[in-house]
């Protein structure tokens, strides 16, 4: 059956089995490839999207569980205040190396910042430890989150 879900503010109809992970609906059905596949088991965070503003792993979020919740992906997170500040800080600190994990990192970091204006190191550990970066950009991820937290909100 088809599922109607709201992605980045637009209602989309997706005809797949209800147990299909959202990740594949995004990437393969809708062609929104910014959200990445890394493990398929909620172990790496590459597939992170926002479900009503909270970071979730789309590889284990089935399409039939989304309901009326609003999905935001990396393609549109820049339109949120926290997302824009995170992206800007990411560029300023040159966080990305291969870049593959960074969609997920940015989605997790944006959700953190949206809910916590001044995250501590422990908050950052909690929010970000589900996101693996094989290129080891952790030092800069931490710095960039702190930079984003300092930047004035209106700039974002």
């Amino acid at each position: 059956m088809a599922f109607d879900i709201t992605i980045n503010g637009t209602l989309r109809s997706i005809d797949v089995d209800g147990d299909t992970p959202l990740l594949w609906a995004l990437r393969d059905v809708l062609g929104m490839t910014g959200t990445k596949f890394g493990c398929g088991m909620a172990l790496c965070g590459a597939c992170t999207v926002h479900l009503d503003g909270s970071a979730v792993r789309s590889c284990v979020t089935t399409i039939d569980s989304v309901g009326d919740s609003k999905i935001t992906t990396i393609e549109a997170v820049g339109a949120t205040a926290a997302g824009a500040r995170i992206q800007k800080a990411w560029l300023q600190h040159e966080v990305a190396q291969c870049g593959y994990c960074q969609s997920g990192q940015i989605m997790s970091a944006s959700a953190l910042l949206a809910g916590n204006a001044h995250p501590t190191d422990a908050d950052i550990d909690d929010a970000m430890s589900g996101n693996i970066c094989r290129c080891g950009t952790y030092v800069r991820i931490r710095e960039a989150i702190k930079l984003a937290a300092q930047s004035p909100a209106r700039e974002g």
């Binding site: 990740l23 062609g31 490839t33 959200t35 909690d126 080891g136």
Partner: protein
């Protein structure tokens, strides 16, 4: 197109292959300079003839385009490489646009270039001279064109900010206006390069040119390719290497919504579907029986045993100075140890994938590869087509580390695509990616040293056994039982070691393929030599830094980084109980690096790396920001290996499958990393891999300092460190 062959520049006779060609045939096309960039160990292996693989084009519109064969894997190549040209051409970095060279041009069909590849550390090392020479050559020709136009002496003109200026009159012309004229000028055969103190761009932090798409989801990796009509496939390959598909019951898989086709290969099954969700569901529904073949009983212990036995027999002498046997016999004390390093998977964040469209007479490929010409050659073979019928689109790479120097993923995609109507994207599950990787080899080292009465080493003897990746990957570079990668870090040590003997025994274990892994040789050898020199210091009851330092009087660059790392890490300052500092020093990839790790060993034996201090001399630094980033990256990669990295075989199958069983370091475990770079005007060394090899022994040595327990096998086994 007419290409004028030009003579090598007189002053660099040794660089005779690095010629330039100027294409001046097409009027109005501007200035096109062709050159040849080296690969591999700093040279184009086997390519004695001039075969251009990079092009600089200055158009009449002023646009400067560099077409080059290196790929961006996250190491900043796309920023550092154009810096070299911009520096000599006197333009801003952002004025240069990069294009990746397509593989299907005639020049890439040259079999001599079948080894074209971007290893982590070699792009800048190889391009350092030729690209600056190319920039200078273009600048001289542009100046000559302007001088001719104005009827003035070239010496009265200068280049600045993309223009040529006649200093006396203040007249100026932009490069675009001069490009066509410059193409008619003679190619200078004596190019004087800037001295380091004249550099404006080299050595200045530059923003990465590839960053924006990586923060908004628009960067396109191989896995993101979506040619029209593409189907998605995933696969199960024989869980035992060398096994065969016996039978498959696909009734349940066929019933899955979105599943389109089941493809059977000799040693694999693939499910072709509308999307990966359906393909994975279909895969899980298959009932597969394998004929597991000859390696069905294989275990890691079998391989370790085979390698241990191999170290008892003579190998190929990799280096011999003096008489190690005699010096050993006369030594006051003898220290002996055996070391072992495990198989490791790459686990690039982007799982293996490749999209292929087989159309009978030709085959089109979408992939992210470090070795585009290799992929083209192997796809051609698998497809039964001539290479020119293979069209390859290269993409960004979600992590290389050596994994994407291999073409096995593309070959699989073609085997599947041959049975599919239309394009098919083959995406490996993480489990397939880890269980059908090609692994960093297992190593066993038998090492010994003799010390004199002052504890100084007077004899050193090391025999190690394991796979040679080069022998398979680049056979001509494996000569007389040796290759330059396998032995790097085991020979030519930084220390003064008078009687020195190293042997390598090549053993290719059955049932598990091996490959490069963020280097191979140094990631193994530096662990062994730097752990062992630490053992010698302990045996001599001397401080680990002082002991190394006393062996470095002849090697000032090495001594300088050792001193700097020790100073910045507060070497010698007291630490709380359970904590320790360890040091490692290496010369590898053309760079000197000293690393100090500070670790804490908990009562349950678990190890936490708190802080890492690195002192690096990597010659001239092109982009300091990239050096910092690359060292940090290499360190995290090495910490992961030390704490978690281990691939094991049981009954022929890889036991690890996903990030729960093959763990990666996470942000909450990541150490603070300080990187201190020594100013240098030596040619650039590599840094992409350097951080990884030294950190592992630094951690092991720190654990020894904290607990008195010597780790001779990686990864760290917490059981053995329990209080």
């Amino acid at each position: 197109m007419i290409h004028h062959r030009i003579a090598p520049t007189a002053s660099y006779a040794d660089l005779s292959r690095r010629n330039f060609l100027v294409n001046s045939a097409v009027a109005g096309s501007g200035l096109v300079l062709s050159l040849m960039l080296p690969f591999g160990q700093g040279k184009a292996v086997g390519a004695e003839d001039f075969t251009p693989n990079a092009f600089i084009r200055i158009g009449a519109d002023g646009e400067i385009v560099l077409t080059m064969p290196y790929v961006e894997m996250g190491q900043g190549t796309y920023t550092s490489i154009p810096t070299l040209i911009a520096e000599e051409l006197e333009v801003e970095l952002k004025q240069i646009r990069l294009e990746h060279a397509p593989p299907n041009e005639k020049l890439y069909a040259n079999p001599l270039l079948g080894v074209q590849a971007t290893g982590n550390s070699n792009a800048i090392r190889g391009a350092w001279r030729p690209l600056r020479e190319a920039g200078a050559t273009a600048r001289i020709m542009l100046i000559a064109a302007a001088a001719k136009r104005w009827g003035v002496d070239v010496a009265s003109c200068r280049a600045e900010d993309g223009r040529v200026i006649h200093t006396a009159s203040g007249r100026q012309l932009r490069y675009g206006e001069l490009a066509a004229g410059a193409a008619q000028m003679p190619v200078p055969n004596d190019v004087v390069l800037k001295r380091p103190e004249e550099f404006k761009l080299i050595g200045t932090p530059a923003k990465r040119l590839d960053a924006a798409g990586k923060v908004n989801g628009s960067a396109v990796y191989g896995i993101d390719a979506r040619p029209p009509g593409v189907k998605i496939a995933t696969l199960a390959q024989s869980p035992v290497f060398g096994g065969r598909l016996k039978s498959v019951d696909d009734a349940a898989a066929r019933a899955v919504k979105g599943v389109r086709q089941i493809v059977r290969l000799d040693d694999a099954v693939a499910i072709v579907a509308d999307h990966m969700g359906a393909a994975k569901k279909g895969l899980e529904a298959l009932k597969i029986e394998w004929d597991e073949g000859p390696h069905a009983g294989l275990s890691t212990q079998d391989i370790a045993h085979e390698l241990e036995q191999a170290t008892l027999k003579a190998g190929t002498v990799a280096q011999n100075n003096g008489d190690a046997d005699k010096a050993m016999a006369n030594a006051e004390t003898k220290v002996e140890a055996n070391y072992q390093l495990p198989f490791l998977a790459h686990a690039t964040m982007e799982p293996m994938n490749c999209t292929a469209h087989f159309r009978g007479g030709e085959c089109e490929i979408w992939v992210g590869t470090q070795a585009i010409a290799r992929v083209q050659a192997m796809v051609a073979k698998a497809a039964g087509l001539p290479v020119e019928k293979v069209i390859i689109h290269n993409h960004l790479i979600g992590g290389g580390f050596g994994r994407r120097l291999e073409a096995d993923g593309a070959v699989r995609a073609v085997e599947i695509a041959k049975q599919v109507d239309g394009p098919v994207k083959v995406v490996w599950t993480r489990e397939e990616d880890i269980q059908h990787d090609m692994y960093r080899p297992y190593w066993v080292d038998r090492i010994a040293a003799g010390l004199d009465k002052d504890g100084k080493p007077v004899a050193w003897s090391n025999r190690f056994a394991g796979s040679s990746v080069i022998a398979r990957w680049l056979p001509p570079a494996f000569k007389d039982g040796l290759d330059p990668d396998t032995t790097e870090g085991a020979i030519d040590l930084v220390y003064a070691l008078p009687n020195f003997h190293v042997e390598y025994v090549r053993v290719e274990p059955p049932g598990i393929p091996t490959a490069f892994w963020r280097s191979v040789g140094p990631s193994h050898n530096v662990f062994v030599t730097e752990s062992f020199i630490d053992e010698l210091a302990a045996a001599a009851r001397q401080d680990a830094v002082a002991y190394r330092r006393a062996l470095l009087d002849h090697n000032l660059r090495a001594k300088a980084v050792l001193d700097l790392a020790a100073e910045k890490a507060d070497w010698g300052a007291p630490l709380p109980k359970g904590r320790g500092r360890g040091i490692a020093l290496q010369y590898a990839f053309g760079s000197y690096l000293a690393q100090v790790a500070e670790v804490e060993v908990a009562r349950d034996g678990s190890v936490r790396v708190h802080r890492v201090v690195c002192a690096m001399d990597c010659g001239t630094v092109v982009n300091p920001d990239t050096v910092q980033a690359q060292i940090q990256s290499g360190v995290m990669f090495g910490v992961t290996a030390a704490l978690y990295g281990e691939i094991t075989l049981k009954k022929g199958r890889i036991e690890q499958a996903n990030f729960d069983t093959y763990q990666m370091l996470r942000i909450n475990e990541a150490p603070a990393i300080d990187v201190h770079v020594v100013r240098s005007t030596e040619p650039p060394g590599g840094m992409g891999e350097a951080g990884t090899s030294g950190i592992v022994p630094a951690i092991a040595n720190a654990v020894f300092a904290a607990t008195g327990k010597r780790l001779r096998k990686m990864p760290i086994d917490a059981e053995t460190l329990k209080a």
